[in-house]
């Protein structure tokens, strides 16, 4: 994974930090200037999206590898640098972020009424951190972005959330922090290990560490893998580390849920692909059956629990656990199909679940209830909304021709064909998720949308009206992407192919024992532990 120096411009840094320009402008404004604040926020995120398109069209998929690489010395004494660059995986996720952020802002235009300026600042800061996480090629820089993301998210949930927002925010914060502190220890240990290499020195440069991690002794690798994996698994979230998610989602304001489900969860699965696998391939192979098992449990468990939820938002939250289980299964199938499926499934889940949260937000803005039993026959009074909801639901349950199918199919096929997993049972059990997703989505859809309309015409005590142009526009934008990916996924899969190929190649080498190792003198990271 050598960086290609084809593009040396700083377009990637522009993409990362452009939202800060919006923050600067907003800082000079007041909360009361609601409309101007919203316009500034949207403009900043839309311009960021426009700039990110240069990445999309500029990325040379044929060449593969990391592109748009920038490197500036930061803390020279520790070899820490501002080092960013993207491969196909980061490209997809950065675009997902820059697409979802403006859509989330526009889609919830009227949802937030208090301290709008502060809220918009938080969203923009969040965007910087999210894009930064995906672009970082230095572990220290990655960690900074990773933690930086936490702060605006906690505020978004804790200040603009629902009734139990403080409990949810604290739970989210603690869960995430526990994981990331261990990760910090592992990052430092890895940097130290680099210095123990012949002629080596302390570094957090990911590309250098790619040559260090795989050479570590098995036991060390395993501990480091676990430290990273715990942090990422919480974020995904993988069963049984998922219970922060339903609370955080239910309490978060709509835009928070959209970005939380749409982008933040992908940081976990992204972390596995960018860090856990290539840095600690041997440990990853050892952990494979366990992680795959947890992934399958997440798929089935998330779906079953989603089925019996009484709150729409919670249902969607648990469905995320199920869908992200597919991503995890794909990654740990260690096949090209699985990897490709996992990557495109990340994008798909971001779009579909992001859209679902937007939809739930739209109806909540009108009715102020999320309880399924409070609804019924909504399709008659909100036909456009009902059609959009059905369309996104179908995308979410993986109807062929729409985006969700591509990812699920590749993942399941990859898991089924995986020789490393030694069993087709993983895929066979995971495939029941295909049935269960139809059960929970269509059952919810039926209870909310179909059947006789309320006699009173009131939902949650309010008369409702169908969605308007702004809301339709946002949904149409997502729908176009949903169809596009479903019909012509090649446009995404060709971009991410290099990443999949490299990871699989590396894992193959590992399995065949061809990975260059210092077998005769395993690195003694901590005296006495590496045997």
């Amino acid at each position: 994974m050598e960086p290609t120096a084809s593009m040396t411009s700083s377009i990637l840094s522009w993409t990362i930090f452009l939202p800060l320009a919006g923050v600067v402008v907003l800082a000079a404004m007041k909360n009361a200037q609601v409309r101007s604040v919203k316009i500034v926020g949207c403009t900043a995120s839309v311009v960021t999206f426009a700039v990110s398109l240069f990445l999309w069209f500029g990325y040379d998929a044929a060449a593969g590898g990391f592109q748009f690489v920038e490197r500036v010395a930061w803390i020279s004494s520790l070899n820490i640098s501002y080092h960013v660059g993207i491969d196909g995986l980061s490209l997809l996720l950065i675009l997902l972020t820059t697409v979802l952020t403006p859509l989330a802002l526009i889609g919830t235009w009227n949802s937030i009424t208090n301290r709008v300026r502060d809220y918009t600042i938080m969203i923009l800061v969040l965007e910087v951190a999210m894009v930064g996480v995906f672009a970082a090629l230095d572990l220290f820089l990655f960690y900074v972005f990773w933690e930086a993301m936490l702060i605006p998210m906690v505020f978004i949930i804790g200040m603009w959330g629902g009734q139990d927002r403080v409990y949810a925010a604290v739970k989210f914060f603690l869960y995430t922090l526990v994981g990331s502190l261990l990760m910090l220890v592992a990052i430092l240990a890895l940097g130290y290990a680099a210095s123990q290499m012949p002629g080596g020195q302390f570094t957090t440069n990911l590309l250098d560490l790619y040559a260090v991690g795989p050479r570590l002794a098995s036991s060390i690798q395993l501990w480091m893998f676990l430290a990273f994996a715990l942090s990422f698994a919480i974020k995904v979230p993988v069963f049984p580390l998922h219970t922060w998610l339903p609370d955080a989602h239910v309490q978060a304001p709509t835009a928070g849920s959209v970005l939380l489900a749409g982008v933040l969860l992908k940081m976990g699965t992204f972390g596995f692909m960018r860090y856990c696998l290539p840095l600690f391939p041997e440990a990853a192979l050892r952990a494979m059956p366990y992680v795959a098992t947890l992934a399958v449990i997440s798929i089935v468990y998330g779906a079953l629990v989603a089925m019996v939820q009484t709150d729409i938002k919670k249902l969607v939250a648990y469905s995320s656990v199920s869908h992200l289980g597919f991503v995890m299964l794909g990654i740990f199938s260690m096949t090209e199909e699985g990897m490709q499926g996992a990557m495109i499934q990340m994008v798909n889940h971001g779009l579909s679940t992001g859209a679902l949260f937007l939809l739930v937000g739209m109806v909540y803005d009108r009715t102020h209830t999320r309880t399924i039993d409070d609804y019924g026959g909504l399709a008659k009074v909100m036909p456009v909304f009902a059609a959009a909801f059905l369309f996104i639901s179908l995308s979410s349950i993986g109807l062929p021709g729409l985006n969700g199918f591509v990812g699920e199919f590749l993942v399941l096929l990859g898991a089924f064909r995986s020789t490393a997993l030694h069993s087709t049972a993983y895929a066979a059990i995971a495939a029941t998720g295909v049935i269960l997703s139809a059960v929970y989505m269509l059952w919810m859809y039926q209870r909310v949308m179909l059947g006789p309309t309320r006699e009173s015409g009131k939902y949650g005590g309010n008369y409702v009206f169908d969605i308007g142009r702004r809301e339709i526009g946002v949904l149409v934008a997502i729908a176009v992407l949903v169809v596009w990916i479903g019909v012509y996924p090649a446009s995404l899969l060709t971009k991410s192919a290099g990443t999949a190929r490299n990871l699989i190649h590396m894992m193959d080498q590992m399995q065949r024992g061809q990975m260059p190792r210092y077998a005769e003198s395993p690195i003694e990271l901590l005296p006495g532990t590496a045997r």
Partner: protein, 648 residues
């Protein structure tokens, strides 16, 4: 080859219709324009398919198969050999073009019929949107040149089925029926998916061409082929409503009647049969699965027919009849009589579409009444409907020279004579034939003959408009002559359908080493028996429902328990609910969510937080802010460390 290169248009016309009506229909609600566009695109597809057929026929037999690739669809795009890569591509051969003609031909007639039937419905544009989308999906299913695209069509028709069953979404039961159809189909699709994965694992490909050609050199009876064939068949039982997944189809009658005719009788539900036929080379490698297919088919044929005996909803009778007839088709597949099965798909499409559309005309004329106990004597009010309905009934009952006779008889003969068949399978099939003749006659008599049992003050039966009766007449004609394309070889005439399809199925039959049986005497004997059986079924119905109308009630009274079981469809729905649905819900709710999630995991999380909080509260007291006590602790620490270094 000018026609073949344009052949993808067959698929694209309905797509264009779907987009046009779907995007503009809600705004310009002109019924005439929508109806003409909606039907017109299907006619264009049909016409193109006819062109392709003629071109194909003009070619030598071995040159008739061709494929057209459009663009790459799903794959890894990594360039690694053996990794997945499927395209949107269509395959035109004798089998797929025949199926295309059925789908677009019958589909066109039903579109025309719908112009009249759906008149005045506020969802008129929506109806035609869904209908065109259905044809698009169905044609993808039929014409796909690989499993994944077939699956796209497979699930696509399932979606349209969902949308159209739930078309009148303000009613409660339509939502239930639609959801049930989708979910039960998904259970089948689960099998289809796993089957595909296993094929990919075995053949490193999902394109029909390469899978089938690899299969031709594989040994028979291996476990992997058993599982591939069985898993695909699970998919087929879902889509084609066979035991144990048939439960959705009767409920699907909640949709508008043209939908029942098009999707739940003539085309979509035969997709499972088509899929097995398409995969004949794979099934040829799994004779055990073929036996399972035959048994399931025969069992379903009789099982559904017995339920059909006592149903009182005109559409429900036809629904169970469809399940039963689909059983015959699978019976054919199971004894490797692939052509016979596809032939029955064709004739069934004619007469069952006719019967459903006829029932639609009755329901239309009776102001949405579906209970045949509240009908009777309708023949004088709906003469065209009556005449055509009778043609359909005779055709399905298996009376020569109507269409159903030829196809059903070919299946029964093969069930008896094939090396994969047996006299038992024939007997079961023949029993089903008696039942079929009986319940169809009962349906005709109770609907059109006898006393008028409806309320004359509220119901004024009337014949349907031209747009509805013309399709009925056309279908009646097809139900009459359609069978002549497959006259048994023993009659000394050419069996056009079998000859046409032969090149497609020859490799599979060759693999199974099936010989042609030329015992004409036996064939004639069995044929005579089955005609006599059908006639006696009709006679029994006539005796009991025209002459001695007290008999049915007496029988029902005498065998009250059996009658109740049949009336309640063997309580299968109730059993599924009690064994699968409710336990899953309860376990998910009480155990997984409120148990594992809330009590165990969150309990642990909150418990840890609480312990830390209490610990922090305690430890906090140490921070007194008094410098002297801090100094004391430091000194104590130093002493302890020095002591440790010295003495340990």
């Amino acid at each position: 080859m000018p026609m073949i290169s344009n052949a993808p248009l067959i698929v694209l016309f309905p797509l264009a219709g779907f987009l046009l009506i779907g995007l503009l229909g809600w705004k310009y609600r002109n019924e005439l324009v929508i109806g003409i566009v909606g039907s017109g695109v299907i006619f264009l597809s049909f016409a193109t398919a006819v062109g392709v057929l003629f071109e194909m026929a003009s070619l030598p037999e071995e040159a008739r198969r061709s494929t057209v690739q459009l663009f790459p669809w799903i794959g890894t795009f990594t360039g690694t050999s053996g990794s997945l890569g499927v395209s949107v591509g269509y395959q035109f051969d004798q089998l797929s073009i025949l199926m295309t003609l059925i789908v677009t031909g019958v589909g066109f007639l039903i579109h025309v019929y719908s112009i009249g039937y759906m008149h005045g419905d506020k969802g008129y544009w929506r109806f035609f949107t869904y209908l065109n989308l259905f044809i698009f999906a169905m044609l993808n299913l039929v014409l796909a040149d690989n499993f994944v695209l077939m699956f796209f069509g497979w699930e696509g028709v399932g979606l349209c089925s969902y949308l159209l069953i739930g078309f009148w979404y303000e009613k409660t039961f339509t939502g239930d029926a639609a959801k049930k159809a989708f979910i039960v189909n998904r259970i089948g699709d689960f099998g289809f998916l796993l089957g595909m994965f296993l094929i990919m694992r075995t053949f490193d490909s999902l394109s029909f061409t390469s899978v089938m050609s690899s299969a031709s050199v594989m040994p028979t009876g291996t476990p992997v082929m058993f599982w591939i064939a069985l898993l695909l068949f699970v998919g087929a039982t879902g889509k084609s409503a066979q035991i144990p997944l048939f439960v959705w189809l009767p409920d699907a009658m909640a949709g508008p009647t043209p939908v029942s005719a098009l999707i739940h009788a003539a085309t979509m539900v035969t997709a499972g049969v088509y899929m097995v036929a398409r995969c004949a080379p794979l099934y040829a490698l799994a004779p055990d699965v073929l036996m399972i297919v035959a048994i399931v088919g025969a069992a379903t044929a009789v099982f559904a027919a017995t339920i059909g005996l006592v149903q009182n909803d005109i559409k429900k009778v036809l629904a169970y009849s469809t399940i039963s007839q689909l059983g015959y088709m699978f019976l054919a597949m199971g004894v490797a009589a692939f052509s016979a099965g596809i032939f029955h798909v064709m004739t069934h499409a004619f007469f069952k579409a006719l019967l459903f559309l006829g029932s639609g005309a009755v329901i239309h004329g009776m102001h949405d009444e579906q209970d045949i106990q509240k009908m009777g004597g309708l023949k004088k009010y709906l003469p065209v409907t009556y005449a055509t309905f009778v043609v359909g009934a005779i055709a399905i009952a298996g009376i020569p020279p109507f269409a159903g006779f030829f196809s059903k008889d070919e299946i029964l003969w093969n069930a008896f004579s094939s090396e994969l068949g047996s006299p038992v399978l024939w007997t079961v099939g023949a029993l089903g034939a008696v039942l079929t003749a009986f319940y169809m006659s009962r349906l005709v008599i109770l609907t059109f003959h006898g006393k008028e049992r409806f309320d004359h003050h509220h119901v004024h039966p009337h014949e349907a408009p031209k747009t509805m009766t013309v399709p009925l007449v056309v279908l009646a004609g097809l139900s009459f002559v359609g069978g002549w394309l497959g006259v048994p070889a023993s009659w000394g005439l050419g069996n056009v359908v079998e000859d046409w399809l032969n090149p497609v199925f020859e490799p599979a039959r060759h693999k199974l080493m099936l010989a042609e049986h030329e015992s004409h005497a036996a064939e004639f004997t069995l044929m005579t028996i089955s005609v006599v059986l059908a006639a006696s079924g009709i006679y029994a119905a006539w005796r009991w429902y025209v002459q001695h109308t007290d008999v049915p009630d007496r029988i029902a009274g005498k065998f009250a328990r059996t009658y109740r079981i049949l009336l309640n469809k063997y309580y299968v729905d109730e059993a599924y609910d009690a064994v699968v649905v409710r336990p899953t819900q309860t376990a998910s709710d009480k155990f997984l969510w409120k148990g594992v999630d809330v009590i165990i995991i969150d309990g642990a999380v909150n418990g840890t937080a609480k312990v830390i909080a209490i610990a922090a509260q305690t430890v906090r007291r140490v921070q007194t802010g008094v410098a002297q006590s801090y100094a004391m602790v430091i000194v104590a620490g130093i002493v302890a460390v020095i002591a440790a270094l010295l003495f340990i």
